[in-house]
């Protein structure tokens, strides 16, 4: 009985967090933790991203290798124990994540075989899908400067 209570008490303590009253307080809590992740929308799809990730998306034609892009649609920012969810996105003044274009490649050769039986129709189409790979930079949580 006592053993069960002793084990329950730490669980209660963990759930009694002081609820942050403002976004700044919430960001301070998150900033205090060592590692973060971000749920961001990129080219119409949501990804869970951490620093040093390599993100592969279909070829972006208007971007050169070496260009640095800023992710401006961040839906969620989190750490080990805290999560900040935007409504629908978190303002880019609060969180800054950049991605560097590392390369434009193509995937492995894919072959598509088409056949209609008894009609003498068959063909093989080979293609390589082009992709762009980006490296995610650090998740920056700038401290507000007092004006």
């Amino acid at each position: 009985m006592l053993g069960r209570i002793a084990r329950a008490v730490p669980a209660l303590c963990r759930s009694i967090h002081t609820q942050p009253t403002s976004t700044t307080a919430a960001l301070d809590l998150i900033r205090s933790q060592p590692s973060h992740y971000v749920v961001a929308n990129f080219v119409g799809r949501k990804y869970i991203l951490t620093p040093r990730d390599l993100l592969t998306v279909p070829r972006l034609r208007d971007v050169k290798v070496g260009d640095v892009l800023t992710l401006d649609e961040i839906h969620e920012l989190g750490s080990r124990e805290y999560t900040l969810r935007g409504n629908p996105t978190i303002s880019p003044a609060r969180v800054r994540v950049q991605a560097t274009v590392v390369e434009h490649t193509k995937g492995k050769m894919e072959s598509i075989f088409k056949k209609k039986r008894r009609k003498g129709y068959q063909k093989t189409i080979t293609h390589k899908q082009p992709y762009t790979r980006l490296r995610i930079g650090e998740i920056e949580l700038p401290t507000e400067t007092l004006s």
């Binding site: 590692s35 995937g107 650090e138």
Partner: protein, 136 residues
């Protein structure tokens, strides 16, 4: 007491970006007509190509009585070779940009590899040894 393994995982582009292509070698014949378009490209566009890509070493070599070739050498000691035989000038430009944009990595299936991560999970992971004992 236990030795910590100090390790760095490669992450080109994270803090600093290093272009992966280091050298571009054009090899063509002086006389044969299969190298005609390559020769035209070299005489008209090569200085501009070199000026726009200062990180790349551009070399022109003779390859007599053979088809024209372009070789790209990369930082990971691999090279890509593309024959320019039977290509028009815009197609040659396309092959050159293919080499300039690539890293030297081998072509591998990328369809399902959206996010490749070496970072440990920020939220941690569940461990059976550190969870409450299930009560039936």
């Amino acid at each position: 007491m236990a030795s910590t393994i100090l390790r760095s995982r490669p992450a080109n582009g994270h803090a600093a970006f290093i272009p992966q292509i280091r050298k571009l070698v054009f090899e063509c014949c002086d006389r044969w007509p299969s190298s005609e378009n390559t020769r035209t490209y070299l005489f008209t566009n090569l200085p501009k190509l070199a000026a726009n890509n200062p990180h790349v070493e551009i070399v022109v070599r003779q390859r007599i009585h053979r088809e024209p070739i372009i070789r790209g050498f990369y930082v990971n000691n691999r090279d890509k070779v593309i024959p320019l035989n039977g290509l028009s000038l815009p197609e040659i430009t396309q092959k050159i940009s293919l080499l300039l944009d690539a890293s030297g990595a081998k072509i591998k299936p990328l369809k399902r590899k959206n996010v490749v991560s070496t970072t440990e999970a920020a939220r941690g992971f569940w461990s059976g040894l550190h969870a409450d004992r299930p009560v039936l």
